[in-house]
Symmetry: D2
Subunit: 353 residues, 4 copies
């Protein structure tokens, strides 16, 4: 059954496999008369491009996006926007030895059991490459958020146990790890280098904040803003946990500590993470996600093949030591998509009665 669409009013549908001819996204429901150029999207895609740092695999993906519809003379028309990215650096043959064997920690085994037939090349549809389409769509969503002065920022809060202590948002794009703390960066880099040298990989924590979000977004009781953010973020491949505001720390707090006192100037604290009862409260929205270590490692692992026979596997290949540098822009994109959708959803009731 269909599962490749996201959003109710600003709705995206993504398609494409890692080593097929192309991947892309159709955006349906984008309002008309919004300026949009390929460069607006390209700049965001470039941020998730591998090969930027030592953390990541050297695969060269130019990832040039083309707008095929829905934009005329530089403005959106209100009709579906089709974006395409051709897979230039696909090397399908490189995956022949993985055709019949399941890589541990990957979707190989579940895609096989669900569909009975799969494009095994580089993970096919389950590849992280799919997220390029999300980032492209997120760039379009941001054009809508821009109209309301909403800003979404994502960064690496922790990597391999090294935690950013300071949050210098201006530093995020000055380093390939999207680390907001200049002092924590060297330790993060060292940890990644160490793990990489061992043929291993490592996880981390990404934090995403949204500033300028007006009060009122989110649709109780099932399409609450936090529920939608949780779904959006958890739909990214490597993510195993999502927190809003206080998150798991709330489990040990008292009500008198956790409640954010309300003053005429706003909330005195933000344990809510900007969301109360599923609706934005006007404060900064704060999400955190746990990113698991990339399952492709250069060490030998136990697995089975499609016949159930035990096998040893060493994935090797041109892989990243951490998903973080690719996932940060994807998290940002997903939050953008949720907010743009809910900004438009809220318009059905806003300011007209």
């Amino acid at each position: 059954m269909p599962g490749n669409s996201f959003g109710q009013v600003f709705r995206i549908t993504t398609w494409g496999e890692s080593h097929g001819p192309a991947l892309g996204v159709v955006i349906d429901g984008c309002p008309p008369r919004i300026p949009l150029r390929e460069e607006d999207i390209q700049v965001e895609l470039d941020r998730r491009r591998p090969g930027k740092s030592l953390v990541e695999s050297p695969r060269k993906e130019p990832d040039r996006v083309e707008i095929l519809s829905g934009v005329f003379e530089g403005l959106t028309t209100g009709c579906p926007i089709s974006l395409i990215i051709y897979n230039k650096d696909a090397r399908p043959g490189a995956y022949d030895h993985l055709k019949d064997v399941f890589r541990p920690g990957h979707g190989d085994i579940t895609y096989y059991r669900k569909y009975g037939h799969r494009d095994h090349r580089g993970g096919g549809r389950s590849s992280g490459r799919e997220t390029a389409a999300r980032v492209a769509a997120g760039a379009v969503a941001q054009k809508i958020l821009d109209l309301s002065g909403i800003k979404v920022i994502a960064y690496t809060l922790a990597l391999g146990g090294v935690r950013a202590r300071r949050k210098d948002l201006s530093f995020i794009y000055q380093n390939p790890l999207f680390c907001p703390d200049p002092e924590a960066l060297p330790a993060m880099e060292a940890r990644v280098a160490e793990v990489r040298a061992q043929g291993d990989s490592i996880g981390g924590v990404v934090e995403i904040i949204a500033q300028g979000v007006p009060a009122g977004l989110g649709e109780p009781v099932f399409d609450k803003l936090d529920a939608e953010l949780a779904r959006a973020l958890m739909s990214i491949g490597a993510i195993k946990g999502v927190e809003i505001g206080s998150g798991f720390a709330a489990a040990e707090m008292l009500g008198s500590e956790h409640n954010d006192p309300i003053t005429p100037e706003g909330f005195r604290s933000n344990h809510a993470g900007g969301i109360l009862a599923g609706i934005s409260n006007g404060d900064e929205i704060i999400c955190r996600v746990a990113v698991k270590p990339i399952p492709s490692i250069a060490q030998e692992q136990d697995t089975i093949d499609i016949h159930g026979t035990p096998r040893k596997i060493t994935v090797g290949g041109r892989h990243d030591a951490s998903a973080i540098p690719r996932i940060v822009p994807v998290c940002q994109a997903m939050v953008r998509l949720v907010l743009a959708d809910h900004l438009l959803r809220q318009r059905a009731i806003e300011g007209w009665i």
Copy 2:
């Protein structure tokens, strides 16, 4: 915009306010010929009924469910099942003093800002009472899961910092805290009593496991099973975080530790929490949620009224010291709803080609 429906094939729509005449749910998409009696639903509702223990408020809610449609001669017909629960113990007048003032930590302020008009009595639609409809629907979902031998179990993993160390599933329903650890129970109870005596409240962690789930459930890339579980669970009022499998611990793990080796007998570990690439892998599904302390506390708090004037508020009333005993059955219900929906979604492609 509509936000009160959940599920694609097994779809529920809930309605009702805390102190209106009734609340209920319409279930559309339930297959026909499934035995269903009011008692099947009532037994689940009774589990979330307040007044069972000292932890909870003494409000008496008989919560009698009635089936109004969709069942004929004891079997579902495939037509919408309408369930209603009349609010017998509603005391609307008890909330007059809260009409114009926002309780911190509650949805009062966000409902007001979103809709401009709200039923303030007991939180209206944002009340936890809404979840009775979810539990009722979850009981119907379980009838479908029964056909596939799927069992969903929820329990209190931690309460106010006291953690269950053992998991004795047979003990869960023998104590009002749904604690699976007979040894941890006294400490949990003591912690709750202590907090309650201070007019305060406390959070906790609920774990939900699903056994017998076949491989193949979940619809990449946005309706992945973990993404749907995250949305479902985060849509419950007091929840601030969701984890699948290893959860936030994954952020500090190595790939070589985190990957679950595959053997002919199954996975050797279950960091995945039963889900790989958004699709169930046949192993036990494991979710955890962070529950914030109930915001209604008997201590004075700072807030404002609808005119923006600073106010002091003491919520008092007949409130619980912890949401846990009510939320455990709701978490269970939401996981049941997700699994029933995806079990039916999977049927579109299963075993026919």
Copy 3:
């Protein structure tokens, strides 16, 4: 799979069988702060109540609607509006002889083949009684249309071959056939009396017009306004055809005749029926539907039972000679629902960029 919801932004979900305890509708997505009383809905329900004229069966259905949620102090809250109508005059036993035999022209056989189990009493879910919930929801939709000055009018254009020549809209509610032509009325009444005396039934044509609809409603390319109207109207039990504007007459027209010339004052003709390329053009919207004769007739008919054995059946009972007097308000309701939904859908792009 779910099929009992209608609308994207103003979404209704209906439930209930003809002879169950009650039927109803949940309206999700109604904007807040709209005045709504039970009387607003009751007046519309009374229009479709049987027993008003000789044309119809004498079954007495008080059809009292109750608002169970979503309205507080006379105003909608933006939360789901649950409406319920108890079945007061249900006589389930009256249908025992039809339990195992299929009435020709009815859904008995198809419900049985689809679901394998059905509530046979009075047609169960397939009964025309289900449309009471549509009419109730349509009354709420009209409250939204009122805010934009949109008026929806439905009337009997033809009955049993007798066609209304004049359209005196003020006359519609002055006669039980909703006939707009005082001169055609006696012939229509005579035709109905004649058919009724023969134990037979007869079809007709209903026309629905919408005035004051702004240009811009409708969402190409699949949710075009005419496509949505066609679906909405064809979903009513007895309807076999839908036309917009020129309808089937267009099939024999030339382009030079059919095109509506555009002038600064508006369109010079209205073959389009107020819709061009699926979007309202600001002109009056015109739909017509063909209503089949009611299948319940007092004549003996050939059929089979659930075992496939040939049977003779005489349905008899308290049935109408024509569906027209009940269907006119239902057609009106469905057009109201489509327009309210699209009015709100259009708000996502309207007047904000």
Copy 4:
């Protein structure tokens, strides 16, 4: 708001403008392991290609479809199928004179009023060219129908007042008008030639039948099979009316005539058109649609420009005299899409309890 998707389980999303770089469709929800080649789709596209006969405009559109995703080694994978057709013969400049003026009978004026900005070239998104994506998707839908032995046939029942009397289904693809009656064909051709010589255009009636449809498809009460067919067909640009079975003739029939008697061998007649109470009854499904004359005519017409100034317009260009030869395959495609979707929807309840 999104309107470019169709279907619940087999869901398509189309995109693209008449003179943009390309158009296409994403199919989400296609079951895996279905053989699919580009040729399977191409053969259907070739049927709607203009330039086949004198009836149509000489525009050359090779309309080569490419599969970009969702198919691996000749079989569908269950992942989204992305199909693209590049616009090879686009001549954007040819439409400069129509930039600011509205062609009567076209969507120019309504797109402008809805969106405020439009791609005017050849109608942009409102062009009939959009239907190429529908035909391509319909070809994939047919692969699913093939598995159940369902056949969908469409033909020209009437053209410019000339009606086919015989239905020789083998003759349909032997003539460019899709006329099933060898004797009526010359009169149809003569009528088209006559109208074309006058610089005018003409309408017609298309009939679509589906054979081999099992009983049980359709989801009451809003997603009834006839309601979905009506929506699907009315969403095609030039269609002004839809009938199922007896259609508008039902309005003048008696119940005793219209009811289809049921026998152990099946229904004795088929006024129902294969659908009872919105569910297929196992008999042949019969739909008819009224096609309006193409609005692009070579005669001078009155209109206005975007400033509201009166203008004279002669559309001229390379246009068809009748939409029929293009619309027949599109009607067929839409019926295929509805049936494939409902075949899969029915699987949620079929044969498992």
